[in-house]
């Protein structure tokens, strides 16, 4: 491919950032200095295409070092990777954490999503606006921008601070003063809470040093891998079938079937992906697992590699989770040094390697096919299924994508034994389950309970509604979920029980709203979220999410177009087309919470 690069060149800082990642350029054709040897060399073909997947890491490298991606930097990356500049620009402008305009040395992302909005985010935004001007105002030192959920809902309000050359830091709960002097301690991993039973998923968190392999091993770590190797591939998959373990990312697909699908696929190259792109508003369980128990994620991925025959894994970590990313990278290094990753894992004669990939601010990339596109260096646009990932996943190879909690639950199956695991919960929803409780409760945090616990019991564990207020409604499953009203709190938290209550467990987010809540602004924020996070590929979602937000804006401003009934009909029509005809789960669930609020007649939306 003949790349026509932008005329501007990179700055020294930008060039060094890219070269640090990719190594020095091999020739003048790839952005280096031309020499006589370069004269008649043809580049391209497979070698060039195989580097495309380094596009997002290269954009990150420049963004991290310089604070934004300039024309010169984009041109240089394009030359280095043989990616057309227009496509590289298309990828860069897809992600909220990549800036292609000028920006301040420090950019503060302030969460104003539904949970933080109930915990002082509005006051925080007002004080930042007063101090720094409107969002995006260019002060050479600091500026701020509102952000969707940052996954810190257990200690809202939250901020993510990025300083060029100094990386990302999380801050929660935010004190306005800390954003002025930017002097604060890095967060501990977060609050976890025990349910009624012994912890099976969270037992190491807070007790095991997340940066020490020895510490992990001395608490039973890597016993699961040893057991797996003894059991063999068939034995392991049979045990997973017996355990009844279903995916915890929202789709509840049986893991045994998924892994067998990849294992049986006829291909020399297969992949395993740990989906740590947790971005559902109100969800923070995977962050806590990755931060607090990173070796468990690595061990479970290795087991997945053994089970499926995949020799390579990607851990795709949400860009807003810098601690999780750092700990996973560290854990991989340690595991590799100990021979637990590499050409001969644990001396058992199989090969497995893991690479961490960082997301860049795109909810959609948690959708598995969008995640493939993101890893491949394309825009994070979902793909049509079929073909399913077990047949054609990342790089068009058979791929198993598993949520972080699901992977950790595999270790629980091995530790407890399949029969004992299956005995926890209900017949169709087995094992322990994590729920992220936030909003108007006394003790927001991460809770591990057996499947089948009722919503009321879970809320009781969290100390009930704070300040002695009553329940207005509970949003189960995050922005993509549905509201449950005070009359339905005895709903059983299982896949089947939630379906019966016209909701779904989704990511395990449980957001509680007290009985003083005006749901108008809540729904508008949810609608805004989907509009912002739609990838823009298919019409029902790209335009439907806009029309939904506009309709809610008119309703809440008391200016319905053609009357309230007509406005409601319009919203229902939009809900139907988004649910029925969108390519992926984002559009298919973008009207779910809004429609459930109308169904329940929640205050502020239905008159």
């Amino acid at each position: 491919m003949d790349i026509r690069a932008l005329l501007a060149g990179p700055t020294d800082v930008e060039r060094a950032a890219v070269d640090d990642l990719l190594g020095p350029p091999e020739s003048g054709w790839e952005g280096g200095h031309f020499t006589g040897l370069d004269g008649h060399v043809a580049y391209g073909g497979h070698a060039a295409r195989e580097r495309r997947n380094l596009l997002l890491p290269a954009l990150h490298a420049v963004q991290d070092a310089a604070g934004s991606v300039s024309k010169g930097a984009l041109g240089y990356i394009s030359e280095r990777l043989t990616v057309p500049p227009a496509e590289a620009y298309g990828v860069a402008t897809f992600y909220a954490l990549i800036n292609t305009g000028s920006r301040s040395q420090t950019l503060i992302h302030v969460c104003d999503d539904i949970v933080c909005a109930r915990n002082g985010a509005d006051e925080l935004k007002r004080s930042l606006e007063h101090e720094l001007g409107p969002p995006g105002a260019i002060d050479p030192g600091r500026s701020w921008t509102p952000s969707p959920c940052l996954g810190q809902c257990d200690r809202a309000p939250a901020a993510l601070i990025h300083s060029a050359g100094a990386g990302y830091r999380n801050l929660a709960p935010v004190e306005a003063a800390a954003l002025t002097n930017l002097d604060f301690e890095e967060l501990p991993t977060g609050l976890i809470h025990q349910g009624r039973e012994e912890l099976r998923l969270l037992h190491r968190i807070g007790h095991v040093d997340p940066e020490s392999l020895d510490s992990y091993r001395s608490s039973g770590g890597y016993a699961g891998l040893a057991k797996t190797i003894d059991m063999g591939r068939e034995g392991l998959i049979a045990a997973l079938d017996q355990s009844g373990l279903k995916g915890r990312g929202g789709a509840a697909f049986p893991i045994g079937i998924k892994w067998r699908g990849v294992a049986d696929a006829q291909d020399d190259v297969k992949f395993v992906i740990a989906n740590g792109d947790e971005s559902e508003p109100g969800t923070f369980k995977d962050r806590i697992l990755m931060e607090g128990d990173p070796f468990a994620v690595i061990e479970a991925m290795t087991i997945a590699g053994f089970a499926t025959g995949a020799t390579r894994g990607f851990a795709y970590v949400r860009g807003e989770y810098p601690v999780a990313e750092r700990r996973l990278v560290h854990a991989i290094d340690e595991a590799r040094k100990a021979g637990l990753l590499g050409p001969d894992v644990a001396g058992a004669g199989f090969e497995f390697e893991i690479e961490v990939r960082r997301g860049a601010g795109a909810y959609i990339c948690g959708e598995e096919t969008a995640l493939f596109a993101s890893i491949e260096g394309e825009r994070g646009e979902p793909r049509q299924k079929p073909p399913f990932p077990t047949e054609k996943g990342v790089f068009a190879k058979p791929t198993s994508v598993n949520n972080i909690e699901t992977l950790v639950a595999v270790l629980a199956v091995l530790e407890m034994g399949a029969a004992e695991f299956a005995a926890v919960g209900t017949e169709r929803s087995t094992g322990p389950k994590l729920f992220c409780i936030s909003g108007d409760v006394t003790r927001p945090g991460l809770y591990e309970v057996p499947f089948g616990t009722s919503l009321r019991q879970l809320m009781t564990l969290a100390g009930g509604v704070r300040d002695g207020a009553g329940v207005g409604a509970v949003l189960v499953g995050g922005a993509a979920g549905s509201f449950v009203d005070a009359g339905n709190l005895d709903m059983e938290l299982t896949f089947e029980g939630s379906a019966a209550a016209q909701t779904g467990l989704g990511s395990g987010a449980v957001i509680v709203f007290d009985d003083t809540t005006d749901f108008g602004p809540v729904l508008r924020r949810i609608a805004q979220f989907f509009r912002d996070e739609s990838c823009g590929q298919c019409v029902p979602c790209r335009i439907g999410t806009v029309r939904q937000e506009e309709s809610l804006a008119r309703l809440t401003a008391d200016r319905p177009l053609g009357g309230i009934a007509e406005e409601r009909q319009r919203l229902e029509d939009l809900a139907r087309v988004m649910t029925d005809a969108s390519i992926c789960g984002l559009g298919q669930t973008a009207a779910s919470a809004v429609q459930s609020a109308f169904r329940l007649g929640l205050p502020g939306v239905a008159r």
Binding site: F94, R554, A581
Partner: protein, 308 residues
């Protein structure tokens, strides 16, 4: 090896109750059309891999939770397809309403007019169209709060950067056809791509540089596949703006391009004795509707008035 008719395997499916048999590899759309169903399509181009973006061709397939885009779903043996269910018709109508509420569709041709009328699509039900806005600016993941007075649109001033063609993106429905034609499907030039996200997604060069500064080679193969008139030759666009473009009075004369030895077919579109545009037939085995800058634009000397 001799290929006989027996060696082509076929699949059977039912479309609205009618049994269909069709060679393997066909799409659901092929089956629907063979059964006589008039399924609307916008992003689908017969010479290209389906982009599967507009979702106007959705149909119902038994056993599928959601509707299925007929253009990009491979037909499987035994599929039960319903094209005219309430559910499928609702989604097709809404897709056309949504597109019409956001983009100017008055140059999208008679086909879309007919489909919209048949479906009873009313794009104006979403409110008065909002004003033009700068489409390059927004940061991904952020937008100005919705204005209750308007339905947001993609309206923006047309990009007139040279004498050959105009990019009038207020008419764009983001069907990806121009991007695919510029890229791997046809030209392999990669001058344009989709940039931005969500409703702010748009067709753009790198950093929105003007076309002459981009990798564009002015083949115009993007114009050839644009279904809405968002991309047009400058002469055609000027005439349409002035209200003098009159397709009914135009003649089309097929000839062969004289520039090189490939021998591409050219269709000369003439109005009042002057060439107003040049295309190549989409069903031509060699060109698939594509030309190069010479074939598509290298005829203006004919009417320059300065003689040979």
């Amino acid at each position: 090896m001799t290929i006989t008719s027996e060696s082509v395997s076929t699949v059977s499916a039912r479309v609205d109750g009618t049994e269909i048999e069709i060679p393997e590899g066909a799409t659901v759309l092929d089956a629907c059309r063979q059964a006589g169903a008039d399924i609307p399509t916008l992003c689908y181009g017969p010479t290209m891999t389906a982009a599967n973006a507009c979702r106007v061709c959705v149909v119902e397939i038994e056993g599928s939770r959601t509707l299925v885009p007929s253009c990009s779903r491979k037909l499987e043996d035994g599929m039960e397809i319903t094209t005219g269910s309430d559910r499928a018709r609702h989604s097709r109508r809404l897709v056309m309403e949504l597109l019409g509420s956001a983009s100017e569709l008055d140059r999208a041709g008679e086909r879309l007019d007919r489909w919209m009328t048949e479906a009873g699509a009313q794009p104006e039900r979403f409110g008065a169209p909002g004003p033009e806005s700068p489409r390059e600016a927004p940061a991904p993941g952020h937008h100005h709060p919705a204005d209750p007075k308007f339905a947001a649109t993609v309206a923006e001033p047309a990009k007139v950067e040279d004498d050959l063609y105009v990019r009038d993106y207020g008419r764009c429905i983001l069907c990806y056809r121009c991007v695919d034609a510029c890229g791997v499907e046809h030209q392999n030039t990669f001058a344009i791509a989709v940039a931005g996200r969500g409703f702010d997604a748009r067709i753009s060069t790198e950093f929105d540089v003007i076309l002459p500064d981009s990798a564009c080679v002015y083949c115009g193969n993007c114009i050839a596949v644009c279904p809405t008139g968002a991309l047009a030759g400058k002469i055609e666009w000027d005439m349409r703006e002035a209200g003098t473009w009159d397709e009914s009075s135009q003649e089309v004369t097929r000839t062969v391009c004289s520039y090189c030895g490939v021998g591409c077919n050219l269709d000369l579109h003439t109005q009042d004795g002057r060439i107003v545009s040049v295309t190549s037939p989409h069903d031509h085995d060699v060109t698939l509707g594509n030309l190069c800058i010479k074939g598509r634009f290298g005829w203006m000397y004919v009417s320059s008035g300065r003689g040979v």
